[in-house]
C-alpha cells in the first residue's frame, strides 16, 4: 500500500538517485513518517467539495498577482501631476496612489492584466467562500466535531470581505473615495466614540492624507497574515477530522471512501488549481474591470450616478438604502443615527446567527455524536428551510445595493423598487422558508414511495382474476440505501427533571425541537419495505 522512502534501490540510475535523495532528506527531516502517514490518505470525491478548493486556489492567485502589483504601487497620497501616456488624465492633479495605479495599467507591460487578474480573483475568492459555506450548511457538515471549523471559516469570510474593501480603497479614485466616505459616515454614526474613531481612522478630517497608507498596511500585511493563519487552522482541522463524505453504499461513519492523495488526488487537485488559475486569467484577459481612469482621481464633489460597490459589500450598502426614512433622533443633546445603527444591528444579528448556528442546532437536537456522513439537504427540511430564508434575506439586502440600476434598466420608479425590496426583506425569507420546507418534505415523500414500491414501470398487467395492476420495478439495494440511509429526530418530549420541575430552558428547547422536527418523513424500515414489495 504505502510506499516508504527507503525502498531498495532499483537497477537504473534515475531511481537510484531518487532513493539516495530521499534518504538524504529523511536522514535530516524524518519526513518519511509524514509521507507514510499522509501520502495515501483517502479523500472522498464529489463536485461540491471543490468549492472550498476554489476559494483556496483563488487566494493563491490573489497572493501571486498582488505581489506583482506591490512592486509598482505607491501607497501614498502625496499630490502629484500625472504625466503618463493616458491622454485624458495628463496634467491632472492626483495622489501618488492613483498615478501609480494608472502607471500599472498603461506603462507596465502586463500590469493591466495583473490588476484585472487580482480583481477578478478577489471577486471569485469571496464568491467561492460563500458557496462553500452554503454547501457546508445545507449538508450539515458543521455538526460535531466540526463546529469550531465552521467558526474559523466564518472568520475567513469576514476577513475576505475586509481584504476586498481595503483593496478597493487603495487606488484612490472617485469610487474608492466614495466608498470610504460612506464608511466615514457609518463610523460617525456610532454613539459616543464614532466621531473620534473616524478622526483617528483618517488621521484627521476626511479624507486626509494617511488613509491609503494605512489601508495598504492592512491589505498587504495584517489581513493576509490573518487569512493565512486561519486557512492553516482550517486545513489542519480538515486533516484532524478527515473529510466528510456523502452517504452511499459502503460509506459509514467509521470510514472514508475515495482516492488516495498520491497519486490521484495530487493530480486532480493540482490540476484543478491550474484550471481555476487559468479561468481567472482567461476572464481577466477578456473582460476589463475597475477602469479607474474612467472615474478619475478622488474628489469629494463629482457626480457618480449608478455607483456600485463590489458585489460582496452590496448587502451592507443595500441595507443602508432599505432603511425607512427619518430614523434619527436627538436625545439629551446628542444625535442617535438609527438610520445607520439599525442596519448595523440587523446585519450584526444576522451574521452572529450564521456564526453560532452549529451550536444552536446541536442544542436543539441534543445530539452529541460525531457526524462524518453528510445529510442530503432534503433530509433536514427545517435546516434547509432556515438556510433558504437566510439566503433570501441576504439576497434582498444585496439587491438593494442595485435599486437605482434596477429602476433605470427596467423603467421602474426608484421609490417603487425600494418599497418592493423593503417588503421582500420581511416577506421573502418567510416565503422561501415555507417553499423550501414543503419541497424538502415532498422530495422525502417521493424517496420514501420509491424505496417502498420501486419505480413505476408504466406497464399495466391484467392478472388471471381480471384485476389490473401496474408493475413496479424494484430497486437495487445500492440505490435503495441512498434513499433510506438517513436519521430522523423526534421532537423533544417535555419531562420534569429530578425535582419534578420543568425549567424554562427545557420548555424553550422543546419548542425549538417541535419547530424543527414536528413535520418529518420517517425513513422506511426493512419491515416496511418487505411489506411494500408487492
Amino acid at each position: 500500500m504505502s510506499s516508504t522512502v527507503t525502498e531498495t534501490p532499483a537497477k537504473n540510475g534515475s531511481s537510484r538517485f531518487t532513493s539516495a535523495a530521499a534518504t538524504y532528506i529523511d536522514d535530516r527531516t524524518k519526513i518519511g513518517g509524514v509521507v507514510k502517514e499522509f501520502g495515501r490518505k483517502v479523500f472522498p470525491d464529489h463536485w461540491s467539495f471543490l468549492l472550498g478548493e476554489v476559494a483556496l486556489y483563488s487566494f493563491i492567485v490573489i497572493l501571486l498577482s498582488g505581489t506583482f502589483l506591490t512592486l509598482f504601487f505607491q501607497a501614498s497620497m502625496v499630490e502629484t501631476v500625472y504625466t503618463g501616456p493616458y491622454v485624458p488624465m495628463k496634467g491632472i492633479e492626483m495622489s501618488a496612489a492613483m498615478a501609480s495605479t494608472l502607471d500599472i495599467s498603461f506603462s507596465v507591460r502586463g500590469g493591466l492584466l495583473m490588476r484585472q487578474v487580482h480583481h477578478w480573483a478577489a471577486l471569485l475568492f469571496v464568491a467561492s467562500i460563500g458557496l462553500h459555506m452554503l454547501r457546508i450548511f445545507f449538508t450539515g457538515a458543521f455538526r460535531k466535531p466540526r463546529e469550531l471549523n465552521w467558526v474559523i471559516g466564518f472568520v475567513l469570510f469576514i476577513l475576505a470581505m475586509a481584504e476586498g474593501f481595503t483593496g478597493y480603497s487603495l487606488p484612490d479614485d472617485v469610487l474608492s473615495g466614495n466608498g470610504l466616505r460612506i464608511i466615514d459616515g457609518i463610523v460617525k454614526a456610532i454613539p459616543v466614540v464614532g466621531t473620534f474613531f473616524s478622526f483617528l481612522f483618517f488621521g484627521g478630517e476626511f479624507p486626509g492624507t494617511d488613509i491609503v497608507g494605512r489601508l495598504y498596511m492592512l491589505h498587504i500585511m495584517l489581513l493576509p497574515a490573518l487569512v493565512i493563519l486561519f486557512v492553516a487552522l482550517h486545513l489542519a482541522f480538515v486533516v484532524i477530522h478527515k473529510h466528510t463524505q456523502y452517504p452511499g453504499p459502503g460509506k459509514t461513519q467509521q470510514n472514508v471512501v475515495g482516492f488516495p492523495v498520491l497519486p490521484v488526488y495530487a493530480a486532480k487537485a493540482g490540476g484543478f488549481f491550474f484550471i481555476v488559475f487559468g479561468v481567472i486569467v482567461l476572464i481577466a484577459s477578456i473582460f476589463g474591470i475597475n477602469a479607474i481612469w474612467a472615474y478619475g482621481p478622488y474628489d469629494p464633489s463629482p457626480v457618480s450616478a449608478g455607483t456600485q460597490p463590489d458585489w460582496y459589500i452590496g448587502f451592507a450598502d443595500g441595507m443602508l438604502r432599505l432603511v425607512p426614512p427619518g430614523l434619527e433622533t436627538e436625545w439629551f443633546g446628542y444625535t442617535w443615527s438609527w438610520n445607520m445603527l439599525l442596519p448595523l444591528i440587523i446585519i450584526g444579528i444576522f451574521i452572529v446567527i450564521v456564526m453560532i448556528y452549529p451550536f444552536i442546532e446541536a442544542w436543539v437536537t441534543g445530539d452529541k455524536r460525531e457526524h462524518h456522513l453528510l445529510d442530503r439537504p432534503r433530509n433536514a427540511p427545517t435546516r434547509t428551510a432556515i438556510g433558504a430564508a437566510g439566503v433570501t434575506f441576504y439576497a434582498v439586502m444585496w439587491a438593494g445595493a442595485s435599486s437605482d440600476i434596477m429602476a433605470t434598466h427596467f423603467q421602474l420608479s426608484m421609490e417603487g423598487v425600494i418599497h418592493a425590496l423593503q417588503a421582500l426583506l420581511f416577506l421573502g425569507p418567510i416565503i422561501a422558508y415555507f417553499l423550501a420546507k414543503r419541497i424538502c418534505l415532498g422530495l422525502q415523500k417521493k424517496d420514501r414511495a420509491i424505496a417502498l414500491h420501486g419505480y413505476e414501470s408504466g406497464r399495466i398487467v391484467q392478472l388471471p382474476g381480471g384485476e389490473f395492476v401496474e408493475v413496479h420495478k424494484p430497486l437495487e439495494s445500492y440505490e435503495q440505501w441512498e434513499l433510506v440511509s438517513y436519521h430522523d429526530y423526534a421532537p423533544l418530549m417535555l419531562r420534569p427533571d429530578d425535582n419534578g420541575r420543568i425549567s424554562f430552558g427545557q420548555r424553550l428547547r422543546a419548542g425549538f425541537s417541535r419547530w424543527f422536527f414536528e413535520d418529518r418523513i420517517v425513513p422506511p424500515t426493512k419491515g416496511e419495505i418487505e411489506q411494500g414489495d408487492h
Binding site: 445607520m340 421609490e415 425513513p523
Partner: protein, 370 residues
C-alpha cells in the same frame, strides 16, 4: 476492508473508550432497530482505458499533447509580451497586449490543469480506497496524562495556592497593553478637535461662489431659472490654498479635506415655487438658493438635480431633497435637510456668502448639537 465497511451503517461512531460501551448521546435522534442495512461498496466498474490498451494509449496521447500545448501557451505569452508593445499609450495597444498575454497564460494554465486532471481520471488506478476513521477525542490515558501535566505543574508552581502572586500577575498582564493602546491616539493630530473641525467650512462673509472645478466666480445674472451650478469657494484652488491660514481654510489641513466640507449646489427657482422658511427669507437672492452638497446621510455628494420637480437626489443611497421646500428629505434614509448657505451679491454682481453654514454639514455624528 470491504467487510469492515459493511458493518453497521448506523450513526454510532466507535466510542473513544473501546473497552467501555459509552456511546455519546444521540439526543432526539430515532435509532431504529429495524433499519435497512448498508449493502457495502458496489462492485468496482472498470473504465474503457482499463479494458482496452488502445484506448489507454490514446488518452496518454491526449494528456501529453495537452502538456505540450501548455508549453506553447507559456511561450506564446512571452512572445506576446515582446511583440505587443504598449509604449505608444494607445488604448488599442494596451487592450491587445492584455488580451494576448492573458490568452497565452490562460492557455498554458488551462492545458496543464486539464491534462493533469485527465491523467488522474482516465489513466491512474481508480480502485476506491478505504481509510478507517479514528474518533477525534484523545483516549482516556492521554487525557489523564494531559490532566496530570497541569495538576503537577500547578502543584510545583503553586499557581492556585499562591493567590496573591497569581492575581497580581493577572493584573500586570491586563495593564501591559494599555500603553500600546494609548500610543494609537497618535493616529490623529493631538492639537485638533474633530467636533470643532466639523463646525467650520471655508465659507465666510463675502466669499465669492465659484464654479467647481474651474474656480470662475458666478454672477447672479448668469444664473437662469431652472439652472444648477456646482459651487466651491473662490479661494479653494491649489494655487491660493497654499497661502491661506488655518482659519481661512476652515480649519482643514489639506485641500480635499476643505473641499469635502465646502462643496455647494446653487439653483435658481421661480419665486412662486420657492417656499422659504420665514427666518431664512434673506438667505436667498432673487430665487437663487445654495445648499451644502454633502448628503446628510453618510456624506456622498448629492449631485443629481431634477429641475422639473426641484428634487435633489443622492446617487449613493437615493435620499431625495426638495429644494423648493428648504431641501427637506422626501425619500430615502437621510433625516435632516441639507444645510443652506446664506448668499447675497456684492457690488460687482457676483454671488457671495453672507456667512459660514449655520450648522455642521455632512453626515450626523454624536456631538452634532454641541
Amino acid at each position: 476492508m470491504a467487510e469492515e465497511a459493511k458493518n453497521s451503517g448506523g450513526d454510532a461512531v466507535v466510542a473513544a473508550q473501546s473497552h467501555d460501551v459509552d456511546v455519546a448521546s444521540a439526543g432526539t435522534a430515532v435509532i431504529s432497530s429495524d433499519a435497512v442495512q448498508n449493502p457495502g461498496l458496489p462492485p468496482h466498474r472498470k473504465r474503457v482505458t482499463d479494458l482496452d490498451p488502445q484506448k489507454a494509449k490514446r488518452q496518454e496521447r491526449v494528456v501529453y499533447s495537452l502538456f505540450y500545448i501548455s508549453i506553447a501557451g507559456s511561450l506564446g505569452a512571452v512572445l506576446a509580451y515582446m511583440f505587443f508593445p504598449i509604449e505608444t499609450g494607445e488604448m488599442m495597444a494596451i487592450r491587445l497586449h492584455t488580451l494576448f498575454v492573458g490568452l497565452g497564460m490562460a492557455l498554458a494554465l488551462l492545458a496543464v490543469g486539464i491534462g493533469a486532471v485527465h491523467w488522474g481520471k482516465a489513466l491512474m488506478a481508480d480502485h476506491e480506497s478505504i481509510d478507517m476513521r479514528h474518533p477525534v477525542p484523545s483516549d482516556e490515558e492521554t487525557m489523564q496524562a494531559a490532566a496530570d501535566v497541569f495538576t503537577v505543574s500547578n502543584e510545583e508552581s503553586g499557581f492556585s495556592r499562591r493567590s496573591l502572586v497569581r492575581n497580581s500577575l493577572l493584573g500586570a498582564l491586563i495593564a501591559f497593553p494599555l500603553p500600546g493602546i494609548t500610543l494609537l491616539r497618535g493616529l490623529a493630530p493631538q492639537d485638533q478637535d474633530p467636533v470643532e473641525l466639523a463646525k467650520h467650512t471655508m465659507w465666510t462673509k463675502g466669499m465669492r461662489l465659484a464654479r467647481d472645478p474651474s474656480g470662475v466666480p458666478i454672477k447672479a445674472s448668469e444664473v437662469t431659472i431652472g439652472s444648477a451650478f456646482h459651487v466651491i469657494p473662490e479661494t479653494l484652488n491649489h494655487h491660493d490654498f497654499e497661502h491661506l491660514n488655518a482659519e481661512e481654510r476652515g480649519g482643514s489641513e489639506n485641500f480635499l479635506d476643505a473641499k469635502a466640507k465646502a462643496i455647494v449646489l446653487l439653483m435658481r427657482l421661480d419665486q412662486s415655487e420657492l417656499n422659504e422658511l420665514p427666518e431664512r427669507e434673506s438667505w436667498s437672492y432673487d430665487g437663487i438658493v445654495a445648499y451644502s452638497k454633502v448628503c446628510t446621510h453618510v456624506g456622498c455628494p448629492v449631485a443629481l438635480y431634477e429641475q422639473h420637480t426641484h428634487h435633489l437626489l443622492c446617487p449613493c443611497h437615493q435620499s431625495q431633497f426638495d429644494v423648493s421646500e428648504h431641501a427637506k428629505v422626501i425619500f430615502g434614509p437621510a433625516k435632516r435637510p441639507l444645510p443652506q448657505l446664506p448668499i447675497t451679491v456684492d457690488e460687482e454682481g457676483y454671488l457671495v456668502a453672507q456667512s459660514d453654514f449655520h450648522e455642521p454639514v455632512g453626515p450626523s455624528y454624536w456631538e452634532r448639537l454641541k
